[in-house]
């Protein structure tokens, strides 16, 4: 089974550092100035986006080029009117204030901390009109990630770093790192189910081994390759006891169209065996 892939998108270096260390990531090489790190064995990547929704969206696009069916987590710190320092929240709604668009991250597994609405604004001000969380990246991140992965695999995880009174003031990097560090266990428990879901989606795209073997031996057109992929999948489900490549050889099939026709006819004659072993 292929491993899943989880990508972090973070705006500040101070937010990224504890994550990089905790998940044993090493530098992967930057793209267009976006610093990236990863742990290939664990299927975890990180891209450092810088501040702002446009930067977050661009970072997602760069990272997405190398991974399909990845899960995405935007980790960041933000200010909130009433929540205590260090409180984690996962977005259940991401609202982009400048564009008035909304997204609803989907919870298909147990969520390790409370959820909230995250409103993305272009510039952090000193006054917030609602009791929601305010950041500068989530909507750009979410909109871009939804181009590459289903909503169920995209989440925004935020840690409160101060109250409204401190809005606009920069927190020392060490303090920001500590806040993220204190929440790494929660982040980790979010990663496990996301990894599983990403792996599940990737598994569906894996071609049977025999597909490669047959393509190596015979010439198939693009349409025939697609037909073959489907037939081999049907074969593995309906006749798992017979290796299709052996069957092709023993029937003396030497060109692509006879392989397609013969396998189709053979499968057509086999009724499914519900409740019985094939």
């Amino acid at each position: 089974m292929p491993t899943g892939q989880v990508n972090f998108v973070v705006a500040l270096r101070a937010e990224a550092e504890p994550i990089i260390e905790y998940f044993g990531m090493s530098p992967v090489g930057s793209v267009e100035g976006f610093y990236r790190a990863g742990n290939i064995q664990s299927g975890i990547g990180l891209i450092f986006s810088g501040i702002g929704r446009n930067n977050a969206a661009t970072a997602v696009c760069h990272q997405a080029c190398e991974t399909n069916y990845a899960a995405w987590i935007n980790v960041g710190t933000l200010v909130h009117y009433g929540l205590p320092l260090g409180e984690p929240r996962i977005a259940h709604k991401v609202y982009c204030v400048p564009t008035r668009r909304s997204w609803y991250p989907q919870f298909v597994f147990e969520i390790p901390c409370p959820t909230a609405t995250v409103r993305t604004i272009d510039r952090i001000s000193k006054n917030f009109p609602t009791d929601d969380l305010y950041d500068t990246e989530a909507s750009g991140f979410y909109e871009a990630a939804a181009q590459f992965s289903p909503h169920e695999l995209i989440h925004s995880f935020k840690v409160v770093h101060g109250s409204q009174a401190r809005a606009g003031e920069a927190l020392p990097p060490n303090d920001i790192s500590s806040l993220v560090e204190d929440n790494l266990k929660t982040i980790n428990s979010l990663i496990r189910p996301l990894h599983r879901l990403s792996a599940e989606l990737r598994q569906r795209r894996v071609d049977p081994e025999e597909h490669r073997e047959l393509l190596h031996d015979l010439h198939f057109t693009t349409t025939q390759r697609r037909q073959l992929r489907r037939l081999l999948r049907r074969w593995s489900i309906n006749c798992p006891q017979v290796k299709v490549t052996d069957w092709v050889k023993s029937n003396g099939l030497t060109n692509a169209s006879s392989v397609i026709t013969s396998i189709t006819e053979h499968l057509e004659s086999i009724p499914p065996t519900f409740g019985l072993k094939p």
């Binding site: 259940h92 298909v108 057509e268 499914p272 519900f274």
Partner: protein
Amino acid sequence: MIETIYIEEDLQVHPRASRLLKRFPGARIIPCQHYTEVFNPAAQSFDLQKQHPALILARKKGNLVLPAPNGFGISNGPNFYFSHMLNCLYDCRYCFLQGMFRSAHYVLFVNFEDFEAEIDSTIANSHEQTPYFHSGYDCDSLALESLTGFVKHFVPFFAKRPDAFLELRTKSIAIGNLLNIPPVPNVVVAFSFTPAETAVAVEHGCPSIRDRVHAAGELAGAGWPIGIRLDPLLWYKGWRAGYDALIDKIATAIPSSALHSASLGPLRFPSDMFQKIERMYPEDKLLNGPLIRRNRFVSYSEPREAQLLSFVEQRLANAFPETNLFPCALGAT
């Protein structure tokens, strides 16, 4: 267990919605402007959501009652359907809902009274023909009864309208609310069945065939008109014996006099829906069976389908000689 409830903002004071929210004190409640913001936007994954569906409380506006698709009807008169809910508790691999919606969340339309008004106006426009209303097209009519209270609300409504029929189509055995009230002659409880071995393999999360037959028998005994729906008919090794056993079981539990109607239909998927479903469940045995493209549908070959239909139709006619039998042809969805 419902952990997340989305609710349209203007429904927060709706009495039916408020009652439901109180039943799930631990759920996260997320307001939205319109249910379609959450339900069915692009890039959602039906099968991943099916692992953990949320509840969406919404108000249905417009098109509350629609003509039933060809082949869904059970009379020669006008057939209509209305959906107080979208999506189903169960996860049947042949169900078109998995290809029709991108979301697996349960959408409950709480404005029952608006449905009633439109049903009344449809009855009024039926020109002395008896209209049939089907409630189990986009959902199972009974499966989430404890949540929706649909039966409790709509069965008494139809009891007062003897010139119209309501069909409750279901695989559920949640029949308590029906057994608690006297039978209503114009409300048909229609159970869907496939043979026991296919039910186990492709009707995920559904009550067993034995339990469904038992529930149908109990309702029949209480005087409720019963429908038998063998739709879709499935072709597999031993299908003749499977359908023989199923029909025997049904005939033992349900007396002919209690049977309102029986209907049967072939396995069929609109081609584009089949593609979507196949992408979600590439290893499913039913979807990897001997299915072919015919017109705009994916189904069994014509001879195979004819064989299934004629065999099962004959067996049903033998078991229930007096019943109204409605076969359904390819093209119905």
